[in-house]
């Protein structure tokens, strides 16, 4: 294995760099490492243009662009705030929830509003409980 070393960009998203290097090198790298301000690319099957290829990836690196896993984690972290923003649902107990529905669901339009609020709550719960679910579903679909 050959390890190529580069200065780590000041603002780096190491997980995104890992993803980008794997996209560029495929199975020819075992991964990357960061120690202090040094970025290491671990090349299993070295080729002449590996250093240039890694520099290309570094030049194109956008530290603000999240990996799918990081985006899912951010969505999960936001979930409690989204649930709290649904009027009533953050504080009602069971009796209060039933009473509110009985008092307010009078026609299709009001029923639709309750369903929307419940759907928002379900989505927030899903995001918090299974942050990687969409990624896993995509992986299963690809298989």
């Amino acid at each position: 294995m050959q390890t190529l070393e580069f200065p780590l960009p000041e603002a780096a998203n190491v997980s995104a760099l890992d993803r980008a290097m794997r996209a560029r090198f495929g199975d020819r790298i075992s991964g990357i490492s960061v120690a202090g301000d040094v970025l290491m690319v671990h090349v299993l099957e070295p080729q002449d243009d590996d250093e240039d290829a890694a520099l290309d990836v570094l030049a194109a690196h956008d530290p603000d662009a999240l990996t799918p896993e990081q985006a899912a984690r951010k969505t999960a972290d936001d979930a409690p705030a989204r649930a709290a923003a649904i009027p009533g649902w953050a504080t009602w107990d069971e009796a209060e929830t039933v009473a509110w529905i009985e008092d307010n669901v009078r026609d299709l339009e009001s029923a639709k509003q309750v369903l929307i609020d419940m759907a928002r709550l379900l989505v927030a719960l899903r995001d918090a409980q299974w942050p990687g679910l969409a990624i896993e579903a995509e992986r299963v679909t690809k298989k």
Partner: protein, 162 residues
């Protein structure tokens, strides 16, 4: 303080100051303070490598008695993304990489963005009196297709001749 191989004395042998100092004084001093390398506040390593890489640079110990070396490393590891990966920790001893084979001495599942502690204890074979090199190494194996980086923080690493 070097270790002096004990010599069996015969009846009637005169214990001279040289013998006393070499056999008793120096060996007692060695036993009280054997060679030790003690490291703390080591640099962290973030890695996604599925092949073993060095966690930190070479650590050396100069052994004096031709004995074994007891090693301890402890710290914690963070998985930086969702999903599950398996962290493997291994050793290089005197240029021989990954002495525990592919699986390593420590295997640790890291779930979600969790943090888990690790401790590694290792005793070497008998080594000659000389400088010996030890390195802690790590690799990250994705579970069920999950990739991601792991940050390994080594809080203590020490070597002691025993």
């Amino acid at each position: 303080m070097a270790w002096n191989a004990p010599v069996t004395q015969s009846v009637g042998t005169l214990i001279t100051p040289a013998i006393w100092n070499s056999q008793i004084v120096e060996n007692l001093l060695y036993l009280k303070s054997p060679p030790i390398t003690l490291m703390d506040s080591l640099q962290t390593l973030t890695t996604s490598s599925s092949s073993y890489v060095n966690v930190f640079e070479t650590q050396n110990i100069v052994t004096a008695a031709g004995g074994r070396v007891l090693l301890m490393g402890l710290g914690y590891a963070n998985h930086n993304e969702s999903g599950v990966v398996e962290l493997h920790l291994n050793l290089t001893v005197d240029g021989v990489d990954d002495v525990a084979g592919s699986d390593g001495y420590v295997r640790q599942y890291l779930q979600g963005t969790g943090r888990e502690p690790f401790v590694m204890l290792y005793m070497s074979d008998t080594l000659s009196p000389a400088m010996h090199t030890f390195r802690l190494r790590a690799k990250v194996i994705p579970i069920a297709g999950t990739t991601g980086t792991v940050t390994i923080t080594t809080r203590r690493f020490w070597l002691m001749e025993v």
